[in-house]
Subunit: 521 residues, 2 copies
């Protein structure tokens, strides 16, 4: 089967959705309704309270004594006004400890990111968990056509897959970079796809302020709300990566200024690879991560106190033989958990990731991802970016890995469902009825509950060896290949008010006609 043949690039989707009244999806029991998991267990503390304070102190010392380079004049002006020590001869900005601590007090501990379908709104902070699809891969791959540079067709199919599975709560950026679209208008086409092919919340890249402005306007139009309401209700998010060590580049600072001033969501994520862009020791990498995160977070509050912001952690280690980044390692797990402790110290929502460095969907891809999720979930991660599809340290979005990850995320969500202990589940009557030496297969207690007693995995092959071997010894990789095609075949575009669609197209078409955005960022 060819996915392309099944998914028409025409407007057939919306018409079909219009007829049925709502979009089709992968049906139950293969998935449950859209719902955010809650982290009801106590997150793991990998460092003591004292050690946490030492990391905090070290990061404030870095901000006070070493400082951060802010590569944007407007940003430096804002910082100077706020009382930061802005070096007149360079981009270096130093912060007194109290300035950081006072400034971040206005960050909201919890907030809602609004989707155009309000059923798909996402809550950040507290014990809320959300999973975003993998983002920003230059390549994609599937078992049939192999690895290739990103393009619009794959981009659209991956957005459709993100819409198809309820465990994917929002996009995290372009699942794959469609390089067949010119960089000046790429964001316009991609944002229009986000606004139409999915009704979940989406991400806007901070790559020049025009893109932020276009993204916000597209989100506002898609939601059909006024500018005022948009300013009241966070409706897009943008990831701000520091250029570690200790630098915030121009487009990132523009992004914070544009987005935070409109009360939109900023996720500040240093990319502190221990041994490369950060000290080789995890504690040192965390201190640097924390310094960079706090500097960016404080800046959002200087732009607009109370604007929604997320503490991002992405500390991992490098392969010391090749210098390439490693993911899902023991060091990654500990860093993810310590990052959660830091975020909770500041009462901030915490962003982490589901990553791996594997080149194919084998045991390595699975164990690195589950170790990542172990670190992310037990670390109290609220917003798990790159949740589904991530391969090769982020260089490729795999269609099959996406399905594998959807299964892993659904299992994690099931793990987070409370274990109910009451008279019904303790089943004393059933135990009395069955007694020693019997079995529970056909008992009324079992019969009444077996259909949805347990999570039914998408990929796990639980047939016995002989039956499995007769079926051709399929691997999880092969089954995943079938499932994403089936999901795409079932996909229907979510309905959109024709007036909204018209306004959206008019805006995007006008902006494309204007030439889009500068490409010299």
């Amino acid at each position: 089967m060819d996915a392309k043949a099944m998914v028409s690039e025409t407007e057939a989707g919306p018409r079909r959705a219009g007829r049925s009244g709502r979009a089709r999806r992968v049906p139950e029991p293969d998935q449950k309704p859209f719902r955010q998991p809650r982290m009801t267990y106590r997150p793991v503390d990998v460092v003591s309270a004292d050690a946490l304070e030492s990391i905090h102190d070290a990061s404030l010392t870095i901000l006070e004594e070493v400082g951060i380079d802010f590569l944007h004049e407007d940003a430096k002006a804002i910082l100077k006004t706020a009382g930061a020590d802005v070096d007149p001869g360079s981009n270096r900005v130093r912060f007194e400890r109290a300035l950081i601590e006072e400034t971040i007090r206005t960050c909201p501990p919890e907030f809602t990111l609004h989707a155009r379908n309000p059923d798909h709104n996402v809550r950040f902070g507290g014990n809320w968990v959300s999973f975003a699809q993998m983002a920003s891969a230059p390549n994609c791959s599937d078992m049939d056509k192999g690895r290739r540079a990103g393009n619009q067709e794959d981009f659209r199919n991956l957005v459709r897959l993100g819409q198809s599975y309820n465990i994917i709560h929002l996009t995290g950026g372009y699942p794959v970079e469609p390089v067949d679209l010119h960089a000046s208008i790429r964001h316009l086409e991609c944002l229009r796809d986000f606004a139409t092919l999915t009704d979940k919340a989406f991400h806007v890249y901070s790559l020049g302020k025009e893109r932020n402005l276009d993204g916000m306007e597209i989100a506002r139009i898609a939601r059909g709300i006024s500018q005022d309401q948009f300013d009241q209700e966070p409706s897009v998010l943008s990831i701000i990566n520091t250029s570690s060590p200790l630098r915030l580049d121009t487009p990132m600072l523009q992004g914070i200024i544009e987005m935070s001033s409109r009360n939109q969501v900023i996720v500040v994520t240093p990319f502190t690879l221990a041994g490369a862009m950060a000290p080789v020791t995890i504690a040192g990498a965390l201190a640097q991560q924390n310094a960079e995160a706090l500097a960016g977070i404080a800046f959002t509050q200087l732009v607009r106190p109370g604007s929604p912001v997320v503490y991002g952690g992405f500390t991992s280690n490098v392969d010391m033989k090749s210098g390439s980044p490693a993911f899902g390692t023991p060091e990654y797990m500990k860093a993810a958990m310590a990052g959660g402790q830091l975020a909770r110290r500041y009462n901030l929502p915490y962003r982490t990731s589901n990553t791996c460095a594997a080149n194919t969907v084998d045991a390595q891809a699975a164990y690195e991802s589950v170790f990542s999720l172990w670190g992310a979930i037990m670390g109290g991660g609220n917003f798990i970016k790159h949740s589904a599809g991530w391969m090769e340290g982020g260089l490729t979005f795999s269609f099959e890995k996406f399905i594998l990850d959807v299964d892993l995320l659904q299992m994690v969500a099931e793990f987070l469902e409370p274990l109910v202990v009451d008279d019904d589940t303790l089943a004393l009557e059933a135990v009395r009825d069955v007694g020693p030496g019997g079995h529970y297969f056909g008992t009324p207690h079992t019969q009444a509950r077996y259909r949805d007693a347990f999570y039914a995995p998408l990929l796990s092959d639980w047939r016995n060896f002989e039956t499995w071997a007769e079926a051709g010894s399929p691997t999880a990789y092969e089954k995943a290949n079938r499932l994403w095609k089936e999901a795409l075949a079932l996909y229907e575009q979510p309905a959109m008010d024709p007036a909204v669609k018209e306004e959206l197209d008019a805006f995007v078409d006008r902006r494309i006609a204007e030439g889009g955005a500068p490409t010299d960022f």
Copy 2:
């Protein structure tokens, strides 16, 4: 390469070991020295304190009102003397709540299992973690020769692999059942192999009391100690599986009587599959698990107060479509963690497992295993059985899965290493030196630490996609196939005092000449 060609079945091993003075092993940095990890993080509570008490109460109600079948007259006599309600017309035994609670008070919270090499002694309880090799598979498999029934050659090679990796702290039973040995003398040959091919602690099956007696004597001889010292120092362990629901069979009760009376280690493990041998609800399965475990544990203390005993949990769910057991599921994780809470409530060491239901070493094998380990480790598991090699719900020991699991266990051990936060690791001087915009690749702080800064995985392929593709796109499965052969090629039998070897052979040969043990158990 053929493993058989590399590992001679002659006595070449010991002679080579004698020359070098100590056994060769897989060298560093592929592994670290033998050492038990410690669970220094706080285990996860999946149920509240109140819910835990409800499970505890329900299990005592089961023991009081429903009772357990004890299929052994001597056991019933011991129980009757202790005050249990032993039904004269059946095997049913009921326990007043206070009898259970009083009896288990003598269980030691921590103890040492002695190996013939004291460097390989294993500590149980507290926050000690130990990993035992997979046990009791009827089949084994490798990529070259496929799946086959267990035999002595494979048995020996798997014992050698268990000896080769320091992260395997002890055997957990026969890695594969060597069915080419007659059942009457199989235990004698296997126990001799345990005593000679490895110097780690080992397991004795409770399958008729002769086997327990032979196993204890072989362990005593191998350690070169007196009967008195043996009675002071636990030197073998035996798994006691209840025949769920609510039954303890004759050989299991014989095992407890023989082993506990000699102060050896008993691990009581109900096999409570929710929906099959236990209620379909996890809380109900846990209540039944707890009832069965407490009954067995109490019986050990009636045989000999203070004898070492471990609380075993093995609750999982079944595939409701086929009835076959599922492993590494969300339900399994929660049950493993709740089992840990129960064991800690009674201040007992806790046994759990690293399992999967996969038929091949693919993504499923990896994710089910890491989810199992997530449940086991965060659940506070002390003794992790089936840690390496387990496939197909226990029906096959895979040579390649063994290597995968060794890598997973080493990563888990690394994750459990404390994250050191001090002036050295916070690296403020390095951050000052590098400053904004630099990198840490060549700094003195990195240079001094990079060699052992991070765990170097056995299987993870961190080459970039192009290099990996040029190398033939190897999977983790294929790399594992190479590594177990390399490990076997490096194996040398651990040295043994010739006098001890002579005594051991004399005992085993005599017992074989006597015809071994009955096979009608």
